[in-house]
Amino acid sequence: MSSITDVVKEGLKYPLNDWKKVLTLGVIFLVSSLVSFAMEYLVFDNIRIISDNAPFDTVQAALSSLPPNSIALIALSGIISLILMIFCSGYIYDVIKYAIEGKSELPGFADIKGMFVKGIRSFVVGIAYSILPAILFLLGLMLTVNEAVSGSVNMIGVVILLIAIVFAIFMSLVQIMALCNMIDKDEFAAAFRFNEIFALIKNLGWGRFIGILLFTVVAAMIISIFCGLIFGAIATVISIIFGSALVLSLVNMVLDSLLLNPYMSIAISRIYGSIFNEANNAELETI
C-alpha cells in the first residue's frame, strides 16, 4: 500500500519537466496581472477625481464628472484580463486532462481556439458552483447588517452566513471532482451529474479526499511563503537601487506571476487530476 501523498510529490515535480511551458503560461499570467495593475491605477485615479468633486446628488452625476474614456479603458482592461484568465483556465483544463490520461509531458499551447472553448467551459462550471453559496452569503450578509429589522432576524442572518461559508467550502470540494469528471468524460453535463461525482468521492473516502486537499493547500502555502520571502528580498534590493516603491510592487508582481503562479497552478491541477485517477481506480478495484 503506497501513500496518497506520493500524488503531491509527483504533482510538485511535474511542472519541472518542461520549464519553457511553465514560463509561457507565466507570460500570460504576467500580461493579465500587468493589465489589472494598470486598471487599479486608473480606478484609483478616478476615485480621486470623484472624491475631489464630492458630494454628488446622483450616480450619473458622479460618473459624468470622470474623463469620458477612462470608464471605457477600465472596462476594456477588465475584459482583456478576463479573456487571458479564460485562456489560462483552458490550459489548466489540458493539464488536468493529461494527468488523468497519465501523460508525463506538459500540454502545448498550439490549439488556441480549443483552449478558449475549454476555458469557457471550466469558467461556466466555476460560476455555476459558486452562484448558490454566493446568493446565500449575500442573503445572510443583508440580514445581518440590516438595522431596520429586529435583533432576532439579525441572528438568523448570522446563522445563514455560517451555513453559507460551510456550504461554499463543501461546494468547492465537489467542484474539484466535478471539473475532473467533466474533463474525463469530455462532456459538459458530466460536471453536474452529482451521483457520479459523489460516488467518485465516496470511493476515495471523504476523509482521504479532504485530507489530501488540505495537505496540498498547506504545502502550496509553505512554498508560496518561501517564494514570497525570496522574491520580496529581490524586489527590495532592486527598489532600493531605483529608489521607488512602485518598482518594489512591480518586481514582486512580475516574479510572482511569471514563476510562482504558473508553477503552483499547474502543480495543483496535476494533483487534482491524479486524485481523480485514484478515485477512479478505486472504483475499478471494487468492481
Partner: protein, 244 residues
C-alpha cells in the same frame, strides 16, 4: 542492546562532514520557513534507512537530493508531530479551564493532578510520535500508519515501554552532553586566549577574541553539532523501532 544503538548512531552520524555542513546550511536558512521541512524530511530519510537496516549494519547516509520529495516527507513528519502534540495540549487546556471554574483549594489540587497527567501525556505523545514516524517509514510513507495507534502501542509494548523511555532519555542526555562539551571546549580555548591577551594589556584585542569565540561557537553549533544530534536521534529512533 540500547548501548549498541547509541554506539551505532554516534558513529553513523559522524560519517560524512559534507552532509552535516549541507544540513547546517539548511538550518541557517530555516528563517525562510520552507527549509525547516527539508530538515524534517532528511531526518525522515535517516529513520527510513535505519528502519530498513540493522544495528552496526554499515548503512549509508541518505543523499541530500530530490528536494521536493524531502519537502513533502518533512511536511508529513511535522504533521504527525503536531497531531500527537495536540493531545497533551488539549488535556492541559481542559484541566486549566475546569479548575479555574472551580476556584479555591480545589483549583490548586485539580491543577496539580492535571499537571502530572499532562507530563505523562507529553511523554506518551513523544513516544507515540517517534514510533509513529518510524512506523510510517516502515510502511512506505503511509500517513495512516503513523496514526494507527493500536499497532504503534503493540510495537512499543514489544520493545518495552520503560526501555523506550529510557532510551530516549539517554539520547537526550547524550545530545545535551555533546552540546555542553563542545560549547565549553570552544569557550575554554578562546577564554584562555582572551585572558592572556588581556593580561598582556591589549584590552580591545581581548574583546575581539571573545567576539570571535562567540561567533565560532555559534557556527559550530549550527553547522555541525545541531545536524549531528538530529541525525543521531533519527537514527536511534529508527533502530529502536526495529527492536520489536
Amino acid at each position: 542492546m540500547i548501548l549498541d544503538i547509541y554506539k551505532d548512531s554516534l558513529e553513523y552520524s559522524a560519517k560524512d562532514l559534507k552532509t552535516l555542513l549541507i544540513l547546517g546550511a539548511t538550518y541557517f536558512l530555516s528563517f525562510l520557513f520552507l527549509p525547516i521541512f527539508l530538515i524534517y524530511g532528511y531526518s525522515y530519510r535517516v529513520t527510513k534507512i535505519s528502519v530498513e537496516g540493522m544495528i552496526n549494519g554499515n548503512d549509508p547516509l541518505p543523499a541530500f537530493d530530490n528536494i521536493i520529495d524531502m519537502f513533502v516527507d518533512g511536511l508529513k513528519v511535522v504533521l504527525v508531530y503536531l497531531v500527537y502534540l495536540l493531545v497533551p495540549f488539549i488535556i492541559f487546556m481542559l484541566f486549566a479551564m475546569v479548575s479555574s471554574a472551580i476556584g479555591g483549594y480545589g483549583e490548586s489540587a485539580l491543577m496539580a493532578i492535571g499537571a502530572i497527567i499532562t507530563v505523562v501525556a507529553i511523554v506518551a505523545a513523544y513516544l507515540m510520535s517517534m514510533f509513529g514516524v518510524a512506523n510510517m517509514a516502515n510502511y512506505d510513507g503511509s500517513l495512516r500508519k503513523a496514526f494507527d495507534y493500536n499497532e504503534i502501542i503493540e510495537i512499543i509494548k514489544s520493545v518495552g515501554v520503560v526501555r523506550s523511555i529510557g532510551a530516549y532519555l539517554g539520547l537526550a542526555i547524550i545530545s545535551f552532553a555533546i552540546y555542553i562539551t563542545v560549547f565549553l571546549l570552544i569557550w575554554f580555548v578562546f577564554g584562555m586566549f582572551g585572558i592572556f591577551t588581556g593580561a598582556l594589556g591589549f584590552d580591545m584585542a581581548a574583546g575581539g577574541i571573545f567576539v570571535a569565540g562567540f561567533l565560532i561557537s555559534y557556527f559550530v553549533m549550527l553547522f555541525i553539532v545541531g545536524p549531528y544530534t538530529m541525525i543521531l536521534q533519527s537514527r536511534a529512533s529508527g533502530l529502536l523501532y526495529n527492536l520489536h
